[in-house]
């Protein structure tokens, strides 16, 4: 039996065999590339911050109210008919519109609360990132021999 310490190995020959096998069997790399997998870079992450949410909340606030009356259009007869309809249905539509308006306001209030939480957490993350950056700076001064 040969002593393994005395055995040498020709890796280049094995690699040549492997290349032949790849060719003969038609093996191919079907896996998606790392670069194809999207990550959110810092700028993209910043674009999804609380400011964007707050701007949208402000936009939604302009349309919170759901009035029971709405402007009527058309000729005089149509306008008369629509006005009469509004008057006759106000007893049912009115309370619904008030509840809808309140509901919208409550939802926007929730969103504003969430926005405050996000802003607070963003501030904390920014603070932590500063600490991490300082730690990296310290580590990398001594860790760069690979």
């Amino acid at each position: 039996m040969s002593n393994p310490m005395e055995v040498s190995v020709d890796v280049s020959k094995i690699m040549a065999d492997i290349k032949r096998e790849i060719k003969e069997k038609g093996l191919y790399d079907e896996l998606p590339a790392f670069e194809q997998v999207t990550i959110l870079n810092n700028q993209e992450i910043n674009a999804l911050d609380a400011t964007g949410l707050r701007n949208r909340i402000q936009g939604a606030k302009a349309n919170t109210a759901v009035p029971a009356d709405y402007p009527v259009e058309g000729n005089a007869l149509k306008r008369l008919f629509k006005k009469a309809s509004q008057k006759f249905t106000r007893c049912t539509i009115g309370p619904m519109s008030i509840r809808l308006t309140d509901n919208h306001a409550a939802i926007l209030d929730c969103l504003e609360y969430a926005c405050n939480v996000i802003e607070q957490q963003q501030a904390q993350i920014a603070e932590q990132n500063q600490k991490i950056a300082k730690i990296y700076a310290a580590l990398d001064r001594g860790e760069d021999a690979e």
Binding site: V7, V11, E21, R141, G142, D144, A145, E146
Partner: protein, 351 residues
């Protein structure tokens, strides 16, 4: 005459810090008057090992300064006196970090600028590998440059391994391992991709241990998303673990797979040799110099070639034994006494 070693940060467990402390140890064994000075001393470093750089003062004419050059340090080493020797550990090219951490990228840029600016400063340089030596020559260094590998304290690897880890993973699965900080230049994505191809086409009963500091969150998150996209199972990031647990992961590993794009030396290659784990590594930067003909080099990041090589090593005991035997022979070149003798020989030139 004193021999002082200076480094920007002395941390517990990193290659530069360990090397610096190992050199300190052999100098003390030889009865030299020696001291380590660091800009920052990590809390994990025992008291008395090093002093702060601010306490150093100017060196005498016959003193020797051994400065560990790895990343920017906000003190000029040209004005401290004594004979100057720089030990170059390499600086990671900044472009690897541009996407994930502009801060680290800038730190690497500053480090490279510092190395370039010091080209006329030292009387002698030590480089961890011939790759690093060539790097210095390309940057215009004209002083004598000697390749002196990192002094690895192999006796530490005889410490007891974490039995829980061994109990959990020592089974019939094929365990792949890569050890190193989870940073982009080490191309963990190529390790994962090779492992994914192996798992999908060759053997489903396998695991991948990616052992190392995983604090660069942006890169780690990208890797995790890639793992999800590939649908690959059993990729394990053990995170911050004890030294005993690292030893245990080495002990249960079957293949050491390194697809790094940039290494200045790569201490984990020596660790894999020490634990008799066959190495498959990408033929790039310092890796072929450290392997010195041992292990199995792959020419690029093609996952099929590396996966098929792993399959052959796992299933062909004679091949595995031959590769490990080659690695054992190579490891002998990094023996403590051999490197110690080389270090002392180079220092004697100044005594």
């Amino acid at each position: 005459m004193r021999i002082v070693q200076v480094l920007p940060t002395l941390s517990r467990g990193d290659a530069v810090g360990n090397n610096c402390r190992a050199i300190d140890g052999i100098l003390r064994e030889e009865g030299c008057d020696t001291q380590i000075y660091a800009g920052i001393i990590d809390q994990g470093v025992p008291d008395g090992v090093a002093k702060l750089f601010s306490e150093m003062g100017r060196l005498e004419k016959d003193d020797i300064l051994l400065y560990h050059l790895a990343i920017a340090f906000d003190h000029d080493m040209r004005n401290v006196g004594g004979h100057t020797i720089f030990q170059y550990h390499n600086v990671t090219p900044p472009h690897f970090f541009d996407r994930y951490s502009p801060f680290i990228a800038n730190a690497c840029r500053s480090g490279l600028e510092e190395v370039r600016s010091y080209r006329d400063a030292p009387e002698m340089c030590w480089a961890d590998s011939d790759f690093n030596k060539n790097d210095l020559i390309e940057m215009g260094y004209t002083c004598p440059i000697h390749t002196i590998p990192i002094l690895v304290p192999f006796e530490d690897y005889e410490k007891p391994a974490d039995l829980e880890v061994i109990k959990r993973y020592d089974d019939d699965y094929v365990n792949f391992i890569f050890v190193g900080r989870v940073v982009p230049n080490k191309a963990h994505e190529d390790v994962i991709r090779t492992f994914a191809w192996y798992q999908k086409h060759i053997n489903r009963r396998c695991r991948l241990f990616l052992v190392g500091n995983a604090s660069l969150e942006s890169y780690v998150n990208h890797l995790k998303r890639y793992i999800k996209t590939l649908g690959v199972k059993n990729v394990i990031f053990p995170g911050h673990i004890s030294f005993n647990a690292i030893l245990a992961f080495y002990r249960v590993a079957d293949i050491f797979l390194c697809m790094s794009q940039h290494e200045g030396f790569c201490v984990p290659l020596l660790e894999a040799m020490y634990f008799h784990i066959p190495i498959i590594a990408r033929d790039t930067t310092a890796i072929p110099y450290t392997l010195g003909g041992a292990g199995a080099l792959v020419e690029d990041n093609d996952p099929i070639k590396a996966a098929l090589m792993a399959d052959r090593i796992v299933n062909d005991k004679a091949l595995r034994d031959a590769i490990v035997a080659g690695q054992d022979r190579r490891l002998a070149d990094f023996a403590h006494d051999k490197i110690k003798e080389q270090i002392l020989r180079e220092l004697r030139a100044f005594i």
